[in-house]
Symmetry: C2
Subunit: 209 residues, 2 copies
Amino acid sequence: MRPQLTETEIADFRRRLCDVAERLFVEHGVEGVTMRQIAERLECSAMTPYRYFRNKNDIFVAVRAAALDRFSERLEAARRTFGSPARRGRAVGDAYLQFAIEEPDAYRLIFDLSQPEDANYPELAAANARSRKTMTDYMEDLVAAGVMDGDPKTLGLIYWAGTHGLVNLFMAGKIGEGELRVLHRQMTQTLARGAQRMPDQKPRRTRAF
Amino acid sequence: MRPQLTETEIADFRRRLCDVAERLFVEHGVEGVTMRQIAERLECSAMTPYRYFRNKNDIFVAVRAAALDRFSERLEAARRTFGSPARRGRAVGDAYLQFAIEEPDAYRLIFDLSQPEDANYPELAAANARSRKTMTDYMEDLVAAGVMDGDPKTLGLIYWAGTHGLVNLFMAGKIGEGELRVLHRQMTQTLARGAQRMPDQKPRRTRAF
DNA sequence: AAAAATTCTTTACAACGTAAATTTTATAAC
DNA sequence: GTTATAAAATTTACGTTGTAAAGAATTTTT
C-alpha cells in the first residue's frame, strides 16, 4: 500500500502552503483569497490543501501564528541588544514599530479582528502569549533598573496598548511613518516621566483628570 | 406611471435596512451575513436592497458610519457634562470605555479593519473626523486649563491611541471589564503626571527609556 | 501480479453577490 | 374605465465560493 506521508513531508507542504497563502492574503485580503487560487500556486488540485488543513480558516490561523512568531522573534532579538535596560527597552519599542512599518499587512493579519475566538486555537494562543511575554518581561527589567516605578505588568499593558493604538492610527492612514515614530517617542517619554519615582520629598499630588 | 420614491421614503427604507443589517452584522459578523438574510428580515426580495444601496459593502459602510455617529454623540454628550475641564475630560474617557463595553460589536464594526479605504467613502471620513474632533478638542480644554502641558494635538493622539489599545486588549479577551477600567485610569494618571509642568525649579531631567 | 491502503483528482452541490430579464404597480391621458 | 407608461419589485440566471462525496492514481506488501 502507499506509504503514509511522513511528518516532515506534511510539515513541508504545510509551510509551503502557508507561504503562498500569506502572500495572497497580503495581496488581496483574507476574504479575497480563494482556495482555488492557493491550490493553483501550489500546482495541485483544489482539494489537496484539505488533506493538510481542515478548512480555509485553519490556514488563516496558521499564517497568523507564523506571522506572530516572526514578530516575537524580532522583539526578542531587540531585547538581546547590548546596553542598559533603558537602551534595550528602546530597542524593543523600535522593533515593534519597525515591524509594523515594514510589514503592515502581516501586522494587520496578526492584530486585526483579534476576537476571543483565538482561544479555540492553542497554536495562536501560544504565539500570542510569546509576544506578550517579551513586552512585559522587558518592562520588568526597566522597573528593576529603576527607570520606571510601578507594577511592571500594569506598565507593560499600558505601554503596549499605547504602542498598538499609535500603530493603528498609522495603519488607518491617519498619521505617517515619521509622525508615528515621533508620537511613540513622546508617548514613551510621557509615560516614563509619569511613572518615575518622585525625588522623595513631598510626593507630588497628581490631580489626574 | 408609478410615482418615484420620495426622498423620505428612500431614507426610511435605508434606515430600516441599516438597522436590520447592523443587528445581523453584530450577530454573525460582516462576512457571515448575506444579502438574502437582510432581504428576508426586510420582507422583500433578495434584489430589492440593490435599489437603495449599490452593493453589500456600501451597506456595511453606512452601518459603520451610523455607529460612528452614535459613538460621537456619546462623547459629545459627555463633553457637555457640568464641571471642571478635568471632570469633563474624565467623563469623555469614561464614555469611550462605556461605549466599548456596552456595544463591543458596534465598536468592532467601527474600528476593526480600519484601512485607508475609508478615504473612498466621504460619509465615513466625515463620521471619523467628527469623533476625532471631540477627542482632540477636549484635550485642548485640558491644556488650556493647565491640567496638562504640551501640544494638545499630540497629547490627544497619544491619549486616544492608549485608550484604543486598552479597549483592544479588552476586545481580544485579554483583560476584563474591571481591569480595563483600572488600567485606563492608571494610564490617564501616568500620562497626566508625565505631561504636567514641573513646579518650576530644576526642570526634571527625564531619562526616558 | 494482486491486493490494499493512502494520496490526489474529479465531480457535484448548496449558497453567495449581483446582472439581466420579467412582472407588478400606481399614476396620467384619453 | 380603459390604456399607456415608467418606476419599483421580483424572478430568473450566472459565475464563484468553500467543501463533501465519489472516483482514480499510486506505491507498498503479499
